[in-house]
């Protein structure tokens, strides 16, 4: 892994040259809270140690995405947009793309989601590290190094006016100018201490899900801000007389998520819905794609109006199933 050194000014100039080719998303406070925003001026990037309050999944999995359009007797898939350059992605958020890749391009090996795959294949990710954990963060317990991730194309570190860039994949070569410098020293990733080993049947009915979900109001905030939540609905819309078919985010925390037309609902309580959220992340995807779908970013904990805490729930499950 090669490392180059440049200045923030030169970096911004090189980045400006990429704006034609890419939709650039980067942490910015331009709209108030720190969020990954589509920027058109490198000056709008907010260089800070803080974590954007929402995840970057929107960059390749938009909230509402037109997937096809019906003409009189044909249907045409919607052509994809400009490639995305995600800049300043934190190591935890970079991990989340492993989950998306697992679900959308390989889960059970049957179907590849062409809309996601096209965006993802074209995407460039430039990461940036964290110096300190924020309240609610637990990436370390999930086994991730907060200072660095190599699951991206390049990784940047700002030091005053100096910018260091680790070039990880071939695709990052030549995008930025700079002089060679000694490579980064990579920390050993911490040990994963927060995970569930138990079989789904051993925790499905035996855990106090009602107690844990007592204050959940089913608002869905946790799933909207989560970098790994990917459940969706498909709806048709009318665009000036033409029918478009769209995919949009859905949430397992909503009461109608599993409601059948006939009125049957296999998940009638909020406790059952919370159980689904926890188990989908920590048990079902563990079994299906071999990845626990929680990066430890803490967003769901910080933003839940009911004070529900997935970290504490998982810890409790570990205790109750004999794993401290």
């Amino acid at each position: 892994m090669k490392r180059i050194k440049t200045t923030k000014e030169a970096f911004n100039k090189d980045l400006a040259a990429l704006l034609d080719k890419f939709d650039v998303f980067a942490p910015s406070t331009k709209q108030g809270k720190l969020d990954y925003l589509n920027i058109t001026d490198p000056e709008d990037i907010t260089w800070t140690d803080d974590l954007p309050y929402k995840s970057p999944k929107e960059t390749v999995f938009p909230r509402v995405e037109e997937i096809m359009r019906f003409t009189k007797d044909d249907v045409v898939p919607t052509a994809n947009v400009k490639p995305v350059l995600l800049l300043g992605a934190k190591p935890c958020d970079i991990e989340s793309f492993d989950v998306f890749d697992g679900v959308f391009t390989s889960e059970k090996g049957l179907y590849i989601d062409p809309f996601y795959k096209e965006r993802r294949d074209k995407m460039l990710i430039i990461g940036s590290g964290c110096a300190a954990k924020k309240p609610g963060c637990f990436c370390d317990e999930r086994g991730y190094d907060m200072t660095f991730s190599d699951k991206c194309d390049a990784f940047v570190a700002l030091d005053g006016d100096d910018m260091y860039i680790d070039l990880i994949t071939d695709r990052a070569e030549g995008l930025f100018s700079g002089s060679d410098c000694p490579p980064r020293e990579v920390n050993k990733a911490p040990e994963t201490t927060l995970k569930i080993d138990a079989h789904e049947n051993d925790i499905f009915t035996t855990m106090p899900w009602e107690d844990w979900a007592m204050s959940c109001i089913g608002c869905g905030t946790c799933t909207y801000v989560c970098p790994t939540c990917h459940c969706f609905d498909i709806r048709d819309a009318d665009d000036k007389g033409e029918v478009t078919r769209c995919r949009l985010w859905d949430s397992c925390m909503y009461s109608n998520f599993t409601l059948h037309a006939g009125g049957t609902n296999p998940r009638t309580t909020q406790a059952a819905r919370y159980r689904q959220r926890v188990m989908h992340k920590y048990v079902y995807l563990r079994d299906n794609i071999g990845i626990t779908a929680c990066t430890g970013c803490g967003r769901c904990i910080r933003l839940c109006p009911g004070g529900i805490n997935i970290h504490d729930t998982v810890k409790d499950i570990m205790g109750r199933t004999g794993k401290k």
Partner: protein, 277 residues
């Protein structure tokens, strides 16, 4: 299927058959001619849409060995099914599929079959019935019993098929309704209370159940008590679905997706899964 599994193909409605005439149920069968042939196995399903209204999930209801068209049997329930029921012959439906696992017809070979179906539950089993009754397949399967249940005499579907099915070798069709009505000379009552009166060899029978969740549970228990092991009792489940591809996260039971690993499951498999269906 197209490389893009979300992309539907047009299917012309050739014929519409009004199946039931009762006030509580409006069921129609649509004979469709898809733009390209859709090969499917009994038990698989399609996503079917009316552009502008939306997509819904329906099991194939026709003989899988007939290649020049498919049939879907659709009950008017909500938005999409209402819109489908407004269409006429000559109109177009949009379909994508086939999805799901289907029945293990090879594993069933050499066994007797006992179908217990309630109401619309006969629709997803009809492809299997036609498949095993096909002249090239009939010898691979033993005696066939069918207990067909409906709320009232007017709620039976595919009644025009029963005589043809019953005329095949060793096929026995029984009909039952929930409560007695004047002029009805067949069974009355729930199938789980009736199947014990029908002669069959529990050791060598595959039990097939399709209907509302409560019916599945009661009849699986009845089959079990009559000697059919849980790995020889099969059902097909209905869960809310959006994608059919194991992506949208709607239809899971535990770590399994009904759209990929199902909708056909043996009772043994279901017993090993969390009871969330």
């Amino acid at each position: 299927m197209s490389m893009n599994p979300y992309l539907p193909i047009p299917a012309r409605i050739e014929e519409i058959i009004q199946e039931t005439t009762s006030d509580s149920q409006d069921v129609k069968t649509y004979r469709l001619k898809p733009k390209t042939v859709i090969d499917f196995m009994p038990g698989q399903f399609v996503e079917c849409s009316v552009p502008g209204v939306g997509e819904s999930t329906f099991g194939f209801a026709s003989n899988p060995l007939v290649k020049d068209g498919i049939e879907l049997t659709i009950k008017r329930t909500g938005r999409v099914t209402q819109a489908i029921h407004m269409l006429s012959a000559g109109d177009t439906l949009w379909i994508r599929g086939p999805f799901g696992n289907g029945f293990p017809v090879d594993f069933f070979e050499g066994h007797d079959l006992f179908f217990v179906v309630g109401g619309l539950g006969l629709a997803p089993l009809r492809p299997l019935i036609e498949y095993v009754l096909d002249k090239n397949n009939r010898d691979k399967y033993g005696k066939i019993n069918m207990m067909i249940a409906a709320r009232t005499p007017k709620d039976f579907i595919f009644t025009y098929d029963y005589d043809r099915w019953a005329s095949c070798r060793d096929v026995h069709i029984y009909q039952t309704i929930d409560a007695a009505v004047p002029g009805w000379d067949k069974f009355v009552g729930f199938p789980n209370n009736l199947i014990k009166d029908i002669e069959f060899d529990g050791q060598n029978t595959i039990g097939l159940i399709c209907g509302p969740p409560i019916m599945i549970k009661l009849n699986a228990a009845a089959f079990k008590s009559l000697g059919i092991a849980t790995d020889r009792i099969y059902t097909t489940l209905e869960m809310r679905m959006t994608c059919g591809l194991g992506k949208c996260g709607k239809c899971n039971i535990g770590h399994r997706y009904v759209c990929l690993d199902g909708p056909v499951f043996s009772m043994k498999e279901l017993d090993e899964m969390p009871g969330e269906y």
